[in-house]
Structures are given as C-alpha cells and as structure tokens.
C-alpha cells in the first residue's frame, strides 16, 4: 500500500531517514545490488527510456552510455523505494511519468511519502493509496484529485505525522569516523 501525507515536510527539522535529496542519497549509498532486479530495469526503461546494461552502466538514446548517477531523480527514487521501503520519501521527486510504476510497486510493498504537488498521470488498474490525512483509500485518479484538493498542503513537522510503516531509523546513518 502507498501512504500519502499531503504537504511539505519542514526540512530544517526532518530526520535523516526522510529522503528529500534523492541524488545525494542514491549517489552516495549506491550498491550494485540495487540494480539487480526487475523494478530497476523497468524504472530505467519506462521512466528514462533507457536500458540498464550493467549495474553501473546505462545506455541512453540521447546521451549514450552514462553512469548510474546520471539517471533521473524519478528512476532513482523508485529504485530506492524498492530496496529501502523502511524510510520515508519526499514524493515530490516522483514526476508524472513515475506514478504508474510507483503504484505498481505499492501493490507489493508498503511505501510512505509526503506530497505537495499535483501529478497528472493515468492511474493503473488495481492501484491503491491511502491518505494519511484522513485514512481515505484512493482507488482512482478522480479520488486522488479529490484528496489533493481537500488537503491544506501546509508545511508540516515530520514527527507530527503518524507514519504507518516501521521506519528503520538506523538506515543511511553516516559511518562513524575513527580519528
């Protein structure tokens, strides 16, 4: 299930396990294993219209062979959500073209995001999301628009939201530096 908290999370007080800077996290923590699955292949194909050649190499029709760090923010967030669903993501990193695959991913995993913009896309059959503002279950794009329109989109504190997933607060913690 996908869980959506509408609004902007206050960056100044958000914890490290709220993934806002997708490039920073993806590029910094990348492991080859993240690319060895069907979702990574589909993200690069469906979102970036490119082909995954090897974990660190992508063939782009425009740019030629590019490193993993050059793929779009949309592909990066989908790949990370698949690998690490136990943190919270800034859903504003998901462009319109990412939502069908995101909903697909939500069929098998629990993923929670914040969302402050109105993506426009074709809802996939069987796709489901839950509004964390009121618990409404969203079954189609019409309901999705309705929930967005009803939300206040205010700036919110991360800790004020009752995130329904078990968050791994140790994930993406910087390594201790031994001087």
């Amino acid at each position: 299930m996908i869980y959506i908290a509408y609004g902007v999370i206050n960056q100044k007080t958000a914890p490290r396990y709220y993934i806002h800077d997708i490039d920073g996290y993806f590029d910094g923590y990348f492991e080859d294993s993240w690319m060895k699955n069907d979702i990574a292949k589909r993200a690069i194909s469906e979102i970036d219209k490119s082909e995954l050649i090897a974990p660190k190499v992508i063939e782009s029709p425009i740019l030629g062979q590019i490193p993993y760090s050059w793929i779009s923010g949309g592909s990066k967030i989908i790949i990370m959500m698949n690998i690490a669903p136990d943190v919270i993501y800034d859903g504003d990193n998901l462009g319109d073209n990412c939502w069908p695959l995101f909903l697909e991913l939500g069929k098998t995993k629990d993923i929670a995001i914040s969302l402050s913009y109105f993506p426009q896309f074709d809802w996939i059959p069987g796709g489901l999301a839950t509004s964390l503002d009121n618990g409404h279950i969203i079954h189609n794009f019409d309901e999705f628009a309705d929930e967005f329109l009803s939300s206040s989109l205010d700036t919110r504190e991360f800790d004020d939201i009752d995130w329904p997933i078990k968050i791994d607060t140790e994930k993406f913690k910087p390594d201790e530096i031994d001087f």
């Binding site: 960056q11 923010g73 913009y117 628009a145 309705d146 009803s150 989109l153």
Partner: protein, 276 residues
Amino acid sequence: MLENGCFKKYRIYVIDEGRISVDDEIANLIKKSTLVYFIITTRKKLGKLNFSLNSVKQLVPDSNGVIHFKNYITLTRQTKPELIQSRIDYIIIEDSGKAKEWFKSLFRDSISIESPGNGKEQVCNLAKDRLKSYTNILLIFDECSFGACIEKLASLIFKFPNRITLLSDYKSWEYLILRSNFYRDKMTPYSVLSNEFEERYYENHLSELSRQSGRVLHIDHDNGGKLSKCYTDACCAYYGINNRECDIGLKGDDKFIAMFKGTEFENILIIAKRVS
C-alpha cells in the same frame, strides 16, 4: 557578487530542483535583484515568492522529440456564444475590499459573492466546497501573483473542468481598472525593470493615475474606505452635476459598459449580462 543583499549584474540564474529551498532570505534576494532572471526548477510550492500563473512553465516534448516551454495550466477561451449561454451562479473573489464591492455592483447584487477569509491560499478550497451547492462558479483572483497556488488550481480544474470560469487576462483588479476606458491610454505597461512586483506595480500605478484624474477618483490600495461611485455609477453629467474635481468622464448611463466597451475585458460585460 552581492551588493546590499541583491545581485547587481544582468544574469540568469538557474536554481535546480531541491538544491535551494526558497526561504525568506532567498525570496528577498530574488525580489530585490531586479536585473536578474531566476529559473527555478521545482515541484515544491514557492509560497514565499510573488509570481504569476503564466510564469509557471513545463517542458513538453512534441512528436518530433523537440521540447517546448508550455504554460503549466492550459485554459480554453470561451467563444462569445458560449459566454452568452453561460450561467454563473456563484462568485468567489480573492479580494475582500474595493474589488469585491466593484464586482458586486457589476453583477447588480444578483449573484452571491464570497471572499475566503485568508486570501489566495483558500480560494480553491472554498471553490471546492461551494461546488457542492452551486453549478458554475466564477473564480476571480490576481493572476499576477497566483503562481504559488497553481497546483491547487490545476487539481480544481481537473476535477471540475466545466464548472469553473476564470476571467481571461485578469492580472489583478487594479490592472482591470487600468485597462478600462478611464486609464488605458495613459497606462504604462509593467516591466521587469519596474523595481517592484507586478501586483504592487499596478496598485501604485492606479493610485498615481487616479489621483491625477481628480480627488474623487483616487484609489489607494493601502487605504481602506469605500470605492468611489465614479467606478460604478454614471458620470456626474448624467445627474446634472457639474463636477470640477474630475478630469475624466465617460459617456453612457451604464458605467460598466462605458468602462469596458471596446477593451480587452469587454467579455465581463457579457458574463455579467450587461450586454448580449
């Protein structure tokens, strides 16, 4: 590079997605740097900035793969027959002062007009709520400063595509009055070098032009008070009054027709059923 808290050279700065959050400090810098264009790529709401609906663009590829800049919201203009057929049954206006008063007179108090208590942020929420009871709502907001609310407007238009009417090119009420037959020949168009935000520019420009035209016509945005009847009622000559405090006058006993006949805003006369 920075002098007195702003950029002083002609430049274009691109702020890429997520790299800088536009807080009060950055917003002030952008506001003061009148020589600079800022291109901000983001999906976040930029509530600290005052920018127009039309300055929000999206990149859209065409069938040849060429990417174009397109307005984020594409609106369709109604034809004259469609406007004549249209039936507005409720009006929501962002402004609560003189603009609201003026629109009430334009519609002859025949349609309810409501302003949300807390300004532009609530315009779309109020519209959504009122659409439970009304069929066609006219939304009047200052287009030149409504950019930060564009996501809400997009979702409202998606949800109720045929039940929302917007006034084309309505940048603000002051702009509307400046483009009327009272002032349009004297009006100086807004320029980015004007050293102030577009909304403020129109407020100041109208204040200046209306003051020059006579004490009774003066419109001061920052000063409350009632709107002069000069903007709603026929000119003094129609009441047999010789008014020496006014330099301008318009022919016709319907002031709204006199103000907008032949202007780019002539269509509001049709919407208000003053002409057909």
